[in-house]
């Protein structure tokens, strides 16, 4: 009961925050348009979109310029965790949204292009000839906006699916509540993704990973569509980490046949002097293939989500481009249509990532029967 209540509370809180931040964002941007000249406006639109796509050190819900020209940000500061000759933990509110130098334990840090650099008291950034900052960059383990969303999604999945699992024992094998919605999806992943691709005998050990990756990507994609401004799956580091997991699982569960297929695909069908010139070309290609498979996974998810966000933000930006009833109508219609497509894409990308992972696992774990027949003869 308690968990259910907690879940409902979390969901409603999220929704309230989401809608509020959306409304406030729109207002803020309308005010801005009147204030600035056309060129600056163009730049600001671009910056706004780029800022939205990036990770950030605070959970900014909305910002506005007050009547006396002061920029105000409303949101939650998040903890900054640095490794700089020892662990340094302080709140990101010390940066004042990158406007001031943060002091912690005698060291000074400054935000520059969304990265933390170590500086002196006044916050001077040194540049080299190519205009790159040469200041020391401490190792950054900060709990950023994306990390908060990952934790939140993890917690949500944990509560949802342990609840689903427990409801089976409590309720004589019948799912209850939200589990009724998720049960068919879990079954779909088992019966239509895992079993056809991996095979009846071996699919069960890959199921936990496939389910986790599917729901993780799907939930994060859906959170990306809320006006919270999170773009977790559109972050190449995160898709890279997920593709790396698929890569490691594929290669560490690979059977003898899988490696034989890579290093000796022709087997007994050809004498060794025939194989050598062929394998000089074939083996490098197969080895590259091992890397290209997960690489295409990471690029596909990243690019799809990033592109979707850019398109949506640009369409909303049309409103400020035309500045008439025509622009708003067009912007609303197009943004609405694209949002609907994005809901489909959010599910489709999660499906494709899971599907292709299952396919690669299938390649890795397959065992050919015909090899054994050859040996028997």
């Amino acid at each position: 009961m308690r968990r259910k209540f907690l879940l409902k509370l979390l969901t409603s809180l999220l929704l309230i925050i989401a809608f509020q931040s959306n409304a406030q964002n729109e207002e803020h941007r309308k005010d801005k348009v009147e204030l600035t000249s056309k060129e600056a406006e163009k730049l600001e639109r671009k910056e706004y979109i780029q800022h939205h796509l990036q990770d950030s050190y605070d959970f900014n819900l909305f910002s506005y310029t007050s009547d006396n020209g002061e920029k105000k940000h409303i949101g939650l500061p998040l903890p900054i965790v640095l490794w700089d000759n020892g662990l340094k933990i302080f709140s990101s509110s010390k940066f004042h949204h990158g406007e001031s130098v943060a002091e912690h334990g005698g060291n000074y840090y400054k935000l520059y292009h969304n990265k933390i650099y170590k500086t002196n008291e006044v916050g001077i950034i040194n540049y080299d000839q190519e205009h790159h900052a040469t200041n020391v960059k401490p190792l950054d383990f900060s709990i950023t906006k994306s990390v908060v969303m990952i934790f939140f999604t993890g917690l949500l999945m944990f509560l949802l699916f342990t609840g689903l699992a427990k409801s089976y024992t409590k309720n004589n094998g019948i799912a209850k509540g939200a589990g009724r919605f998720f049960e068919p999806i879990v079954l779909y992943i088992r019966d239509d993704i895992a079993i056809p691709n991996i095979g009846e005998n071996k699919y069960s050990r890959y199921m936990p990973y496939l389910l986790t990756i599917f729901f993780f990507i799907w939930f994060l994609n859906m959170f990306g569509l809320t006006p919270l401004g999170v773009n977790v799956t559109g972050n190449i580091a995160i898709t890279f980490a997920m593709a790396l997991l698929t890569f490691l699982i594929t290669n560490f569960t690979g059977t003898k046949d899988y490696w034989k297929h890579i290093f000796d695909p022709l087997g007994d069908t050809m004498p060794w002097y025939g194989k050598v010139p062929l394998y000089l070309i074939l083996i490098p290609i197969e080895l590259l293939g091992i890397l290209i498979k997960p690489f295409s996974l990471l690029i596909r998810l990243y690019a799809n989500m990033q592109a979707g966000h850019i398109v949506l933000m640009s369409l909303i930006g049309l409103m400020f481009f035309f500045k008439s009833w025509f622009g708003s109508t067009l912007s609303f219609g197009l943004a609405f249509a694209i949002s609907l497509i994005e809901i489909l894409v959010a599910l489709l990308q999660a499906y494709i990532f899971t599907m292709l992972s299952a396919l690669y696992f299938g390649f890795a774990s397959e065992e050919h029967d015909h090899h054994e027949e050859v040996h028997v003869q």
């Binding site: 056809p196 295409s296 690029i299 596909r300 799809n304 494709i352 599907m355 396919l359």
Partner: protein
């Protein structure tokens, strides 16, 4: 830039052909709908990956 445009045209034609062929196949064998759809999505996703790779190379 022109190269990226050409790649996107190619990708469009490719995915269009996959979709069209899948439609034909489903019309011919409606009972294999699920399998055809899965195969179609995989092929489309693979081609799409090339398209994105080209766009990111710009």
């Amino acid at each position: 830039m022109v190269g990226a445009g050409l790649v996107v045209i190619g990708v469009g034609i490719g995915i269009g052909r996959i979709g069209g062929s899948a439609m034909d196949a489903i019309a011919r064998q409606p009972e294999a709908y699920g399998k055809i759809q899965t195969a179609m999505l995989i092929a489309a996703a693979l081609i799409e990956g090339i398209g994105f790779a080209a766009l990111f190379a710009v």
